[in-house]
């Protein structure tokens, strides 16, 4: 059985947040983060990520199987409640095989199954669980009535048909079935994937409004990225010098931009370096700028080749305008010229994003949609293989449907057969 985890305290900013981990692997997984205290004792520990970076100094508790709330091995991390700390720890936990975010009521369910609760406790908890499932239901209803809900119906219909087409190709291959049904499968699944991605995008905007956007400043060494960041921050956040490669790590500064929380990242200069430490910084720079909402490509000449392709939301900015003639979008980090215009343009662009139809969904729903989307992309990749592995495409599609259970519930084989028999004249 999977080892499961979840934030046990309310989400959002808090003094201390508790993250609970339960299952056969809880102890061994926790041991990857810190030296786990002996059972029944709490200990203050440096909790480190897989790459060795410090996540937080946290209070860690270990409960042995049979002596915990769920009856399984349980680890509790009491971390300082910053959103980033909690998010980091949850993300790190989900990297382990067989370790995943708990479903609604899953901790309680395990406690029940392992006989850890007496009647009074169950009844007391039942209110809690009812509330949990009830709120889920309410959300489902509101989701069903809203645009997401309508989408859910469309997803269901499209994926049901996709399953039916694959299954017809398998189970009725000796009958008069067109042999290019996989084209429609790829189309239906692709359409759903785009739609799921769009919900995810819109939901991530909702999260961004709360937790903030990121803007990465990228460019070749010594182009003046740190100087620009300092100008934006209005303070000396990054060390600047004339020596190329000064910024080896990623330096951030958080500013309020027309009411939006925006984190600006100053990244290491992108070039081929022989310095292993600088190279680490460079690869980090690529990674962080890839996930940023907006990237500012700082260049010295308008014709300069960019280190990687720009997206429509990115800006290409000519720097050190104090040293050259002005042309296009240009700034000078030193004199501050053009910086407020640039910030204005960025703010406009971010505000435009927030005006999209925002979908508020929960962390675990985001997880489900993300997982489903990955699986849908697997299906599409399989439909492009020759010979087409129908049974694998079907299996990936069913895995995706399971992830989408919370949106439209279980799809029954009888519905699949209905779709098959109403689409094709089959049977001898």
């Amino acid at each position: 059985m999977d080892t499961i985890f979840a934030q046990a305290t309310a989400s959002g900013r808090a003094g201390v947040s508790i993250i609970r981990l339960s299952g056969d692997q809880a102890f061994s997984i926790a041991s990857e983060f810190c030296n786990v205290p002996v059972t029944g004792r709490s200990g203050l520990r440096f909790v480190r990520a897989a790459d060795g970076s410090l996540i937080d100094r946290a209070l860690v508790l270990f409960f042995e199987a049979g002596a915990s709330f769920t009856g399984e091995q349980v680890i509790e991390f009491h971390v300082h409640g910053g959103l980033a700390t909690v998010a980091k720890l949850l993300a790190e936990l989900s990297e382990f095989d067989g370790c995943r975010l708990a479903n609604p009521g899953e901790f309680t369910r395990r406690a029940l199954e392992n006989g850890q609760l007496d009647l009074n406790q169950v009844e007391a908890l039942s209110d809690l669980i009812d509330a949990e499932t009830e709120s889920q239901r309410k959300q489902a209803i509101c989701v069903l009535e809203g645009s997401f809900g309508e989408l859910g119906e469309v997803w269901r219909a499209d994926l049901l048909r996709a399953v039916a087409l694959i299954e017809a190709s398998i189970d009725f291959s000796d009958e008069e079935i067109p042999d290019d049904l996989y084209l429609e499968v790829a189309e239906l699944v692709g359409k759903t994937s785009v739609s799921v991605s769009s919900v995810l995008d819109r939901s991530s905007i909702a999260v961004k409004i709360r937790s903030g956007f990121t803007v990465a400043i990228v460019g070749t060494p010594n182009v003046g990225k740190s100087t620009l960041l300092n100008a934006i921050a209005g303070r000396q956040a990054a060390i600047t010098s004339d020596v190329a490669g000064t910024t080896r790590d990623v330096i951030e500064t958080r500013v309020d931009l027309k009411g939006l929380a925006v984190t600006f990242l100053d990244t290491a200069g992108l070039h081929v370096s022989n310095d292993p430490i600088e190279n680490l910084g460079i690869s980090m720079a690529y990674k962080r700028s890839d996930t940023a909402d907006v990237r500012i490509f700082l260049v010295e000449q308008a014709t300069e080749a960019l280190p990687f392709p720009a997206r429509p939301s990115d800006f290409v900015v000519l720097n050190k305008s104090d040293l050259r003639a002005k042309a296009g979008l240009s700034v000078s980090g030193k004199t501050g010229e053009g910086v407020s215009e640039l910030l204005h343009l960025i703010a406009e662009s971010l505000l435009k994003k927030t005006s999209l139809d925002v979908v508020a969904i929960r962390e675990r729903q985001v997880k489900g949609l993300n997982a489903a989307n990955t699986l849908l992309l697997n299906v599409i990749a399989l439909t492009e293989q020759k010979p087409l592995p129908f049974e694998l495409a079907s299996q990936e599609l069913y895995f995706a449907l399971t992830e989408l259970d919370f949106v439209f519930g279980k799809i029954d084989i009888e519905n699949v057969l209905d779709e098959i028999f109403s689409s094709f004249c089959l049977g001898k």
Partner: protein, 622 residues
């Protein structure tokens, strides 16, 4: 009244379910009797002359893995072996053969003749019972056959009614009397029968078919057998003809639709969606101008041809008209008209997983009486019922049939948890753990269990252990391999240059990698058995998917063990929407695992149900 000796089990009906049940009972060493209306019809193929196919071929392999008789009989009588989905993955390949009807029947009868049982010709008119437990059967001539258990495999005989146009005849098959008294007597015991319908096409005289103008479908060059014990076909392989209906055919059918028994309103029974009559095809898919027909010779020594694809309940004169409008059949003679048949069945939702009926203790039901269709589905149930009988009488260790380990398990679970609203047929798509349940590994899934239980002979078990030894040797050779990307390149396998060493199983899981390439890398594989290498390759193909499904299987097993009482009240469980309440109340799942399979059920709803179950249980404990 005349009494014969006391039996352990009496099997009623000599069709595919009955024969398989009888033979399994004999393998268990039970004192068995077979009651059948006509002993010359034991093992007869009433409808299409073929065994196996997609899903069905899987069932035959599972029956065979438990030493059943269907696979071997199909192989010795097989006249056109074809592996369906040959170009697709092994999990969805289904072995199938067309059989010579007469040879098949002879093979079944000869196999049964080697066992010791009592054969009684007659019609069962009543079940005998005492305090809720069956004690035998009573025949219409007054003979009483006493037995501790009864396996009833009535096929289409219980209140069977044949329809041809507006003609209606009481019959179990063409030319054979129906069994009507038994239905009435069982109703007095509390049985509620439903009606199902199936149909069969006219049989054609092959000597009057113009074969020259027809496309043909040959047998496979490399025939795949249905039984694990068979090596190659026993008799000559034949080709089938292929022809098509046309606009004239459809016109004739449309014009005379009101004379069809089904469309004329004479039939109330529900037919299977996947065996539509030609009337159905023309009506429901009116934009389709042509339908394919396979002309399947029914044997090597007969002129009878089975036109697969045009079952009908139109009057005989119309059958002549439309059949003769088809290419190659312009002068054809009909040997026996097509017909529809309606018969009694019992909702299988009342059965135990051993197929024991709730009506009487010791009464087991198998085959069409449980709402299924197909020889393979029937035979599998006959086997399950016999194992159930052996368990009841001898306490043998049962063979476990689960959704995650066998197609038989999928079928039994579908029948008892969902019932049948139309004749139930197996498809591979019904098996959610399809990648694990392959035709090629049915023996690996079932034979050892069968041997322990007592229905598998030492001979088969030895052959099976031999296969496993070879496979183990081969698996070991594969798992001790440690191939670097550079070495792999020599064998023509491109792994990039990730520096990771891989074993043989991991290499085989990569699309396009063949056993031959591995032999270059690991010469000791040459000593491996060729069949074992192929089998190891099949296993490797799905291993990552099966691992991913492993957790689902564990979760299902856990949920199946959580029983839901029949009187469980869903209304009033907070957290359950009215839609969920309606679905659950209607389906009445027996376990949380069964609830999980209901259309539209969400994980949150299952949690709410579980919580109520646990609360009730704890309350009772106080």
């Amino acid at each position: 009244m005349f009494h014969v000796k006391q039996f352990d089990v009496v099997v009623v009906g000599g069709g595919h379910a009955g024969c398989e049940a009888l033979h399994a009972a004999c393998r268990y060493g039970l004192r068995a009797a077979l009651v059948t209306l006509d002993k010359t019809k034991i093992g007869v193929m009433s409808c299409n002359p073929a065994i196996g196919g997609l899903g069905k071929g899987h069932l035959v392999r599972e029956i065979d893995a438990l030493d059943g008789i269907m696979g071997v009989a199909a192989d010795v009588s097989g006249i056109q072996f074809r592996l369906l989905n040959r170009s697709k993955g092994p999990a969805v390949q289904g072995p199938r053969t067309q059989s010579d009807r007469w040879l098949y029947l002879k093979a079944i009868q000869a196999t049964l003749a080697r066992e010791s049982f009592t054969l009684i010709e007659g019609e069962v008119s009543a079940l005998m019972s005492s305090s809720g437990v069956v004690t035998g059967v009573c025949l219409s001539d007054g003979l009483e056959v006493c037995a501790s258990t009864v396996i009833l495999t009535a096929g289409t005989f219980m209140r069977g009614t044949i329809h041809i146009g507006d003609e209606r005849v009481s019959a179990g098959r063409m030319g054979e009397a129906a069994a009507n008294e038994l239905s009435v007597q069982m109703e007095s015991l509390g049985a509620t029968f439903g009606r199902l319908k199936t149909g069969t096409p006219p049989r054609l005289n092959g000597d009057t078919i113009n074969w020259q103008c027809l496309e043909v479908q040959p047998a496979d060059d490399d025939p795949v057998m249905l039984s694990f014990l068979s090596e190659s076909p026993s008799v000559k392989q034949i080709v089938c003809g292929i022809t098509h209906t046309n606009a004239n055919t459809h016109d004739t059918i449309r014009k005379n639709l009101d004379r069809s028994a089904v469309y004329g309103g004479h039939i109330k029974g529900i037919g299977p969606r996947y065996c539509p009559s030609i009337e159905d095809k023309v009506t429901r898919f009116s934009d389709k101008t042509s339908h394919q027909i396979f002309l399947e010779p029914e044997g090597l020594f007969t002129n009878s041809v089975y036109p697969n694809g045009i079952s009908t309940s139109l009057p005989e004169d119309i059958q002549y008209q439309y059949v003769r409008s088809i290419l190659g059949l312009e002068c054809v003679e009909i040997l026996q008209p097509g017909y529809a048949i309606e018969y009694d069945f019992l909702n299988p939702q009342g059965l135990s997983s051993d197929l024991e009926s709730g009506l009487l203790g010791g009464l087991f039901l198998a085959g069409q009486i449980n709402g299924t269709t197909g020889y393979e589905e029937a035979a599998a149930q006959g086997l399950v019922a016999a194992i159930g009988v052996a368990k009841r009488l001898r306490g043998v260790s049962p063979v476990r049939f689960d959704r995650s380990t066998s197609y038989i398990g999928v079928m039994i679970d579908d029948l008892i948890s969902r019932g049948a609203t139309e004749p139930y047929r197996m498809f591979t798509s019904r098996a959610e753990f399809r990648l694990k349940l392959r035709a090629d590994n049915a023996d690996q899934r079932l034979t050892e269990q069968g041997y322990v239980s007592g229905c598998v002979s030492l001979k088969r078990f030895s052959k099976y252990t031999e296969k496993i030894e070879k496979l183990t040797f081969c698996r070991k050779a594969l798992s001790t391999m440690a191939v670097s990307p550079n070495q792999a390149r020599v064998a023509g396998i491109d792994l990039g240059l990730d520096g990771r060493r891989r074993n043989g199983h991991e290499l085989l899981a990569i699309p396009g990698v063949s056993i031959q390439q591995l032999t270059v890398l690991e010469p000791s594989l040459i000593d491996s058995d060729a069949g074992a290498l192929i089998q190891a390759g099949r296993e490797a193909l799905y291993v990552t998917y099966i691992e991913r499904q492993g957790r689902d299987i564990a979760a299902l097993a856990r949920d199946l063990s959580i029983q839901i009482p029949t009187a469980f009240e869903y209304a009033g469980i907070s957290g359950l929407s009215s839609e969920m309440i309606a679905k659950l109340s209607e389906a009445r799942p027996r376990s949380l695992g069964a609830a999980k399979n209901i259309e539209g059920i969400t994980p949150a709803a299952l949690t709410a149900v579980l919580l109520r179950l646990k609360t009730q249980k704890l309350r009772k404990a106080i």
